[in-house]
């Protein structure tokens, strides 16, 4: 049996306080004929929350799997605190906390037992272990149910425990893969607050989501990813500047909309058009001058318009601008 590698003491492992905690250089990954990730590069500094924003299947989870050492990239490198990350490296993983998309907990153990198991797996100091477990239970709001089996928890409580395990060993880099999918609003808010607090304490956070609101609330910088490619990155302001004075026009309608898309795209002043659930999103230069013609095209296609909304440029507009499709396709 191979000897276990002692866990890295995260604070001592930082050679340079200003150096990025995470440095990803040109990673690519192909599964058969599918190019899941293509030449993605990004950096996350201490205390920074970096959002990877993209629809399902954009390559977010594959990127995270590579960054956390679960799978190897075909090309490119990943470094955390200057140390390379791969499936063969172990010590550096003590600096990474992964919160998988699924609730990766043991339902037949209690929350405390789950946390104690993973704390020992990360070689936390035995003397401080119980204190740290109690701390995390407080952070995720499960102290009152700590000794109940997880199988008796609600989905939101399980998700919070899922996050608690990820931050248990005080990682320098916390990687969260869509942690709020399917979570009730109360738990969702608790999760977002916990992430904000950790970031405020200096933890580098890599946060993937397809919820624009979460990205806008949490993230210092955002990377727009689609079809495995990082289309753009920057602060929210930097990204929205890319679409200039454009506005987003959302037409909610029922009926056949796909046939209306070419007609909408052909309208003067329309930058991009994309169907969304129950309607169509348009990126337009001047919504006021386009809206009447757009409704006419949609109606002519046989759809029935129920509402129209005009919004200033936001991340959805950016995504539409960069990819030609809506974020929630």
């Amino acid at each position: 049996m191979e000897p276990d590698v002692p866990a890295v003491s995260a604070p001592d492992a930082v050679p340079d306080a200003d150096a990025p905690v995470l440095r990803v250089e040109g990673i690519s990954k192909r599964f058969g004929s599918l190019q899941a990730v293509r030449d993605v590069s990004l950096r996350v500094a201490p205390g920074e929350t970096y959002g990877l924003l993209g629809p399902n299947g954009a390559g977010k989870s594959t990127s995270i799997s590579i960054i956390s050492g679960l799978i190897d990239a075909d090309t490119g490198t990943v470094e955390v605190l200057g140390q390379p990350v791969s499936t063969r490296t172990t010590a550096v993983r003590a600096s990474i906390g992964l919160v998988p998309q699924e609730s990766a907990v043991y339902p037949d153990l209690t929350a405390r037992e789950n946390l104690r198991f993973f704390a020992r797996l990360y070689d936390l100091d035995r003397a401080a272990l119980d204190h740290r477990v109690d701390e995390v239970l407080d952070v995720v709001g499960l102290a009152g149910r700590a000794d109940d089996r997880v199988s008796t928890y609600s989905g939101g409580m399980t998700r919070r425990l899922n996050i608690g395990i990820g931050l248990l060993h005080r990682p320098r880099l916390l990687v969260l893969d869509e942690p709020t999918v399917g979570v009730d609003p109360q738990s969702r808010n608790a999760i977002l607050e916990a992430v904000e607090r950790l970031s405020g304490e200096g933890t580098a956070v890599l946060y993937t989501t397809h919820y624009m609101e979460e990205a806008e609330r949490l993230c210092d910088r955002i990377g727009i990813i689609d079809e495995g490619e990082l289309k753009a990155e920057g602060t929210r302001r930097e990204l929205t500047t890319r679409v200039g004075e454009s506005e987003r026009l959302r037409i909610t309608a029922s009926g056949p909309l796909d046939t209306a898309i070419p007609g909408l795209e052909a309208l003067a002043g329309v930058v991009a058009a994309s169907p969304v659930d129950g309607g169509v999103d348009l990126l337009v230069v001047d919504a006021g001058s386009v809206v009447a013609a757009a409704i006419e095209v949609v109606t002519a296609a046989g759809a029935s318009v129920t509402s129209v909304a005009i919004e200033q440029s936001d991340l959805e507009a950016v995504f539409l601008h960069l990819t030609g499709k809506a974020l929630r396709d």
């Binding site: 049996m1 000897p3 866990a7 799978i71 172990t90 003590a94 992964l98 998988p100 020992r120 395990i165």
Partner: protein, 392 residues
């Protein structure tokens, strides 16, 4: 090793909280062993099949005396414990009271009816709850009836020639008294073994179920994959091998605990005789290693939990059948069944136990070595395959 110990400890805690492990590891093998030991071993702990039966001879003739001789011979052979009653009512009452499992009633006029070539009736009174004993009693009576049928013709012929004297009737008694030897086929099915029937059955069943207990941790690898917890283990600062080592350790511990508990429980509850404890434990441990190795291949080849469970069941049943778990294999050392039995860990396990009990641990070492070899070879293949499964 620390991480492997942690993972094994966690797995043991999880598995021991599930009803499955108690059923597969203790209750089912013990229950099935109890049933099979009654069916094949007569429920006796010492290997002798002994049924408490009654005999009523209301006839008092020569033919009934011949039947009494048959019964007496079987009693001498240790198959029967016979109580003689004066009348049928007393025998029926004894059956009802549970003092005896069955009784034969030879009615008055039985000999005369046989001699006259008329329909004669030999009644078997049985306790409905003592199915095996009653079946044995009926089999003895039926066999006697067949013999008497052939003998009656002979007697009749002798009478025709006026030759039916005491010598001929004595010869008839001797002839039919030999007949029940075939009835001994029941204990003879396991009679070639150095283990008594009950122990042999319990041992076979125990190892059969250890295929499942020792295989559970490898199944849990698939469960962890589908539940997402495997991701957590794989991104933790531990070697990938620690995850597999933890699973293997859990399987071995569970298997040994289960077999150990069955050794104790079957000794106390079923009267099984495993021989000296060190020898039994060494053979049991080697058996568990072999089983865990085989099951690691079965689990690693599957793509889903259901598939793995089915595959493990097939492997366990096939090896159990070939290895003599369900149908004890007797006969010559060179028989085909014996050869097949020696292709299975089950066969070597039973042989190891037999040798350990009869001739000491030293005599069991070849079987132990074979079991360890099976475990190491299959385990190595299984771990290589399982290691591939850990790749995302």
């Amino acid at each position: 090793m620390r991480a492997a110990r942690l993972i094994a400890g966690k797995d043991l805690r999880l598995l021991l909280r599930q009803r499955t492990i108690w059923v597969l590891g203790l209750l089912a093998p013990l229950g099935l062993s109890a049933v099979l030991s009654v069916v094949f071993g007569g429920g006796a702990a010492d290997g002798e099949v002994t049924f408490a039966v009654g005999l009523v001879d209301e006839d008092g003739g020569d033919v009934s005396a011949a039947f009494t001789q048959v019964v007496s011979d079987l009693e001498e052979a240790g198959l029967l414990e016979v109580t003689v009653y004066d009348e049928g009512a007393a025998a029926r009452a004894a059956v009802d009271d549970g003092d005896i499992a069955a009784a034969w009633v030879v009615p008055a006029g039985f000999t005369d009816a046989v001699r006259a070539g008329e329909r004669a009736r030999l009644t078997v009174v049985g306790d409905v709850d003592a199915g095996i004993a009653r079946s044995v009693a009926e089999a003895i009576a039926s066999r006697f009836a067949v013999q008497v049928g052939a003998g009656r013709l002979a007697v009749t012929a002798a009478l025709d020639r006026d030759l039916a004297g005491p010598d001929e009737l004595a010869a008839l008694g001797e002839e039919v008294s030999r007949a029940p030897a075939t009835i001994r086929a029941v204990p003879a099915a396991v009679g070639d073994r150095l283990l008594d029937p009950t122990t042999s059955i319990v041992a076979g069943i125990a190892l059969f179920f250890s295929f499942f207990t020792a295989g559970l941790p490898m199944l849990s690898l698939l469960e962890e994959r589908s539940a997402g917890t495997l991701v957590r283990l794989l991104v933790a600062p531990i070697r990938q091998g620690s995850v597999l080592a933890g699973k293997v350790a859990t399987g071995l511990v569970l298997g040994v605990l289960s077999l150990g508990a069955l050794v104790v429980a079957s000794s106390v509850l079923l009267g099984a005789d495993w021989g000296p404890l060190p020898g039994a434990l060494v053979v049991c441990s080697a058996g568990v290693i072999a089983v865990a190795g085989v099951m690691s291949i079965a689990a690693s080849l599957a793509r889903s939990i259901e598939q793995a469970g089915n595959l493990q069941s097939i492997v366990a049943v096939v090896l159990g059948v070939l290895g003599g778990t369900f149908v004890p294999i007797a006969g010559s050392e060179s028989g085909l069944l014996r050869t097949l039995q020696r292709c299975t860990p089950n066969g070597w396990f039973l042989e190891g136990l037999e040798q350990a009990r009869a001739n000491g641990l030293g005599a069991a070492l070849p079987a132990v070595a074979v079991l360890l070899g099976i475990g190491l070879v299959t385990g190595a293949i299984g771990l290589i395959l399982a290691n591939r499964r850990l790749r995302w």
